[in-house]
Symmetry: C2
Subunit: 204 residues, 2 copies
C-alpha cells in the first residue's frame, strides 16, 4: 500500500477513532453512525467524515460504518498491523513505568530492549535492561525504527544523535527539552510539565 499523505493532526485523530472503535468492539457493537463515532471521539461529524476520506473511506449514507471493517482499515493505515519493535532508553522512574505499561503491546508495539547507564538487575522489570554500548547491535539486528527516550535532559541530545546514526527514524521524547534531528526523522514530545502549564494558563 502506498502511504497516503495525511497531515499529522489527522493521524492523531485516526488513532482516537481507532480507540473508540476498539471500545465498540468490546461492547459487540456492529455498526456505528458517523454522528455517534464523532461524539465518542470528541470531534464534529464533518471532521470525522473528512478525515476518513483521506484514505478513501467515504462511508455509506444512512448505514453508518461497519465497526470491524473500519477498525481493520485504520490498523492498516496506521501501520500497527504487525508488532512494531521499539527500544526504550533511560530506565529511571518514568522509564520503569513505561516498561511496565501494558498498553503498548496491546496497541501493536513491543519493547524489544531497554537501555540505561546503570544496568543493575531490576527484578520486577518485564524487559532486560542492557548497557548503552549494546544499542547499536540491537537496533541493527532487529531493524528497530522507533525509540522512546526517558533520559535526563543533559543526556538527551547525545543519545538522540547516536541512535539516529544507527537507523532510528521516530522518537517519542519524554526528556523535558527540545531535541534536534535531521530531516526524515520524526519526534513527538511528551512533556508532562508543559501539559500542566498549559492547563494552568486556562484556569487562571
Amino acid at each position: 500500500m502506498t502511504k497516503p499523505d495525511i497531515p499529522r493532526k489527522t493521524v492523531y485523530r485516526l488513532s482516537i477513532y481507532q480507540r473508540c472503535l476498539q471500545q465498540l468492539r468490546v461492547n459487540h457493537t456492529e455498526t456505528v453512525s458517523s454522528e455517534a463515532l464523532a461524539k465518542a471521539a470528541g470531534v464534529k461529524p464533518s471532521q470525522l467524515r473528512k478525515d476518513l476520506t483521506h484514505f478513501g473511506n467515504f462511508g455509506t449514507r444512512g448505514l453508518g460504518y461497519n465497526v470491524e471493517g473500519l477498525s481493520a482499515q485504520l490498523t492498516e493505515v496506521l501501520g500497527t498491523a504487525r508488532l512494531q519493535p521499539v527500544i526504550l532508553i533511560g530506565v529511571g522512574n518514568l522509564g520503569s513505568a513505561l516498561l511496565r505499561y501494558a498498553g503498548f503491546n496491546k496497541e501493536g508495539f513491543e519493547i524489544t530492549a531497554a537501555f540505561d547507564r546503570d544496568t543493575h538487575p531490576r527484578p520486577n522489570s518485564p524487559t532486560a535492561v542492557l548497557a548503552m554500548e549494546e544499542m547499536e547491535r540491537v537496533i541493527r539486528e532487529h531493524s528497530v525504527k522507533m525509540a522512546i527516550i526517558a533520559v535526563p535532559t543533559s543526556a538527551a541530545q547525545g543519545v538522540v544523535n547516536e541512535i539516529v546514526s544507527y537507523g532510528i527514524q521516530a522518537i517519542l521524547n519524554f526528556a523535558p527539552t527540545v531535541i534536534s534531528v535531521p530531516d526524515g526523522v520524526w519526534v513527538n514530545n511528551v512533556d508532562l510539565a508543559v501539559e500542566l502549564e498549559n492547563l494552568s494558563y486556562f484556569i487562571q
Copy 2:
C-alpha cells in the same frame, strides 16, 4: 492581570520558550536574540515574535531579549508564579512514576495528595495515597483546580464526573480514552500508545 486570550497552541509554545530560557539562565546567559531563542525552541523567529506580542512583549530591535525579564513575564502569563496544587488519581505503575517525577515541583506544581482505591502503604511514595472517599474534602479544603488522572479506562469517566462536581477545572488525562467534561473544564490528553501510533504512521 486580565488573562489575554491566547490560543492553546501558542500557550504550548510559551511553555517551550520558558524551558529554553531556564536553560539559558542555568548557563548564566543574560540576553538572547529572537533568532537564537527560536532555534532552541524549534520554531521560526517570526513565530516567536508573534507569540510574544500576544501579551504585549514587542522586544527591542537589535538588543535581543533579557533572559531573566522575559522568563519572569512568561511565569506570570502562564500562572506558574505560585505553586499550584494538583491532585493525582490512580496510583498504579504510571501514577507511581508521576508521583516521583521531580519535574512537576520544579515547574511550579505540587502534588497535594494522591488517591487510589487501593490504599495499601507505599513505602517509597513521596506523597500519601488516600482513599477515593477523601477526594471531595481535599479538593475543597485546598481549593484544588487541577487533577492528573491515571486510572484504568473503565474508571476514568466516573472519576472525572466526580472531581468536576467538586470544583476541578483542568484535567491531565493519562487514561487511554476520550472523556467528556462540561464547558469551562479543560482536558489535555497524554495517550502514550496514540503517540507511538502517530510516529509509526510516518516511518512506514
